[in-house]
Symmetry: C2
Subunit: 407 residues, 2 copies
Amino acid sequence: MKEITGGVCAPKGFKAGGIWCGIKAGSKKRDLALIYSEKSSDAAAMFTANRVKAASVLVSQEHLAGGKLRAIIANSGNANACTGQAGLDAARRMAELAAAELKTNPKEVAVASTGVIGVPLPIAAIESGVKPLVNSLHSGEEGHAAALEAIMTTDIRKKEIAVEIEIGGSRIAIGGMTKGSGMMHPNMATMLCFLTTDAAISPDALDKSLRLAVQRSFHRITIDGDTSTNDTVIIMANGEAGNPPITAGSAACEIFAAALEKCCIALARQMARDGEGATKLLTVTVKGAADEKTAEVMARTVAGSSLVKAACFGADANYGRVLCALGYAGPDFNLEKTGVVFKSRAGEIELFKNGMPVLFSEENAKRILSEEEIEIVADLGGGPGTSTAWGCDLTYDYVKINGDYRS
Amino acid sequence: MKEITGGVCAPKGFKAGGIWCGIKAGSKKRDLALIYSEKSSDAAAMFTANRVKAASVLVSQEHLAGGKLRAIIANSGNANACTGQAGLDAARRMAELAAAELKTNPKEVAVASTGVIGVPLPIAAIESGVKPLVNSLHSGEEGHAAALEAIMTTDIRKKEIAVEIEIGGSRIAIGGMTKGSGMMHPNMATMLCFLTTDAAISPDALDKSLRLAVQRSFHRITIDGDTSTNDTVIIMANGEAGNPPITAGSAACEIFAAALEKCCIALARQMARDGEGATKLLTVTVKGAADEKTAEVMARTVAGSSLVKAACFGADANYGRVLCALGYAGPDFNLEKTGVVFKSRAGEIELFKNGMPVLFSEENAKRILSEEEIEIVADLGGGPGTSTAWGCDLTYDYVKINGDYRS
């Protein structure tokens, strides 16, 4: 597997584009994106677990039921959530407008929105924007970059990936982009994630691979504990690579699923690093738990603790807060066998071992925790279960972004 | 019921004191507190749900099993948590030292600690401090105030209450103090709460009244989602009021329980208002839920949302974040029947009604949300369940306090 460029346009047969149509009223930043497959693709998707679902989510769920997609149209600047029947009508209209311009079936167009909740979607802006949007479709890096810009809101960094693998003599590409930096928590972040591949793969194998990859990536990041109304992950597979079709359970499927998981983890880490106001990427690994699921719950709880996050911001080796978070995560564990280590590329330092504090150099700890990527490893000394979660520090800027800005 | 002064020393037969013994090494702020009943009291208590329990909690649980107390000794500046066998020995020693000086049974002394986790408790400081501590015991406001100061950590405001009720011709007082401003979340806050009463009351009635009062007060506040290792609520009842003993299920018990609940709610609101870095008290009421428990879960989730809290700080009428938090709280509800109103003493404003945004004046909303006490009312339009939760805004100072300070 090697990393390549081009994002969602790296796989054969995909184009993308993005323009400003006026939804982001205060700026001329791109706000309308399109990802397009030249031929009909198989598609799989996952949506928010929030009981309040955006209109775009409800419409995409309907359209994805058919399992086929030609395009995804997405806007930023407005979430089209809590907008009643008018919102649903607007989301359907968005799909129809794109389908008409692309001369395809509206049911093969997915819709996604991100931005402020509870404000009517300015559908007129999208009506007048669809033609220039379709005209902006471009292959390669150029198309990918324009679409990616158009789905960003408070994101500062671009989150993108593309890899190439070989299956049965064919070169297969997987590409992806995400947006999301606030209101992010497992199941899922406020995130839109669009993935493309030119693999020929059965709908069943595609769906299973996506679910596993999402579970091990996006479901393990947390920014602030808020699960949004709009979370959407969609993958389109158009078969243009010409490989012998991948079926569920095959060795080829394992290779494909592993590559997809790597892509999703790369995107998840990029999102955590770009958490609202974040200055640091926080990786929390819990080992020695009863099983992977238990380890996951505990790793997520530590990564989500406001006090742990604030300590990381302050480069304070406050392992007591890590133990405290492990204690309220839910699962039982033996404190007497528990150890805590903080790591970064500047070194590692053991702070707690077998239920007892370890004497350590505060100066050394400060140096390690002042790096941009910090890892906390908690070993519970019990079973074989291990899991990793990703988060970020809690900073003044998180408060500033979310206190000052209607997002 | 009327409010009176004197805190935990308002009920007859109680004294309190507080001194600096050197646990808070960097300052001369009081760090050792004592609450003392002249005669043996019945006692009831509740402790943290965190699986990692401080040594002081484990020892107090043992001692409280007897149901009798003469005194509570508490220190700030050190949590005596995650300190292994040495920590347990130190907590036992603390009770023994106080008992020896007070000439009572160590089993009738409860211990409580608050402060940094994972640092050995400097027991020598307590050894040399116990005599001056006992000498500092004082009745009335003076004793109460000294003890209260000695349990404070990052607290800015004092949290105290005392009320008087009449039962069967006897005047009964209930007094209380709490500390706690960070790491606070239902079940319970990082809080110590000491309550006293001169009521004669059966152990059963005392225990039931305490549990109900705590459920409706401290379990409904949230500052940052972190549940501490040290949470402790203790009530001592010495019978000095001379009332006919209150038994569980009696009309007298209802009067007593209602007064205790009022005391605990008053203390809980004071704690939420003094949340680390807080500038505002946030009250969230959920109505129209299936039952009280469902309403409570939803109210707590809204009050605990980082995004709702940051919006309150910024006086931003971001009701979309309220709906979003209701959506991920867990229980199902009908968005089409849901309404959201923001209130303060400056007025009230309806933002969402029957599943649709309501046009509102941003200027008016800003004025209402700029007050120091804000209420959010979400009406789900379903069943009869109502509950209220309390929290505070998320501010730059929360990050500063928890990023810069090993607490």
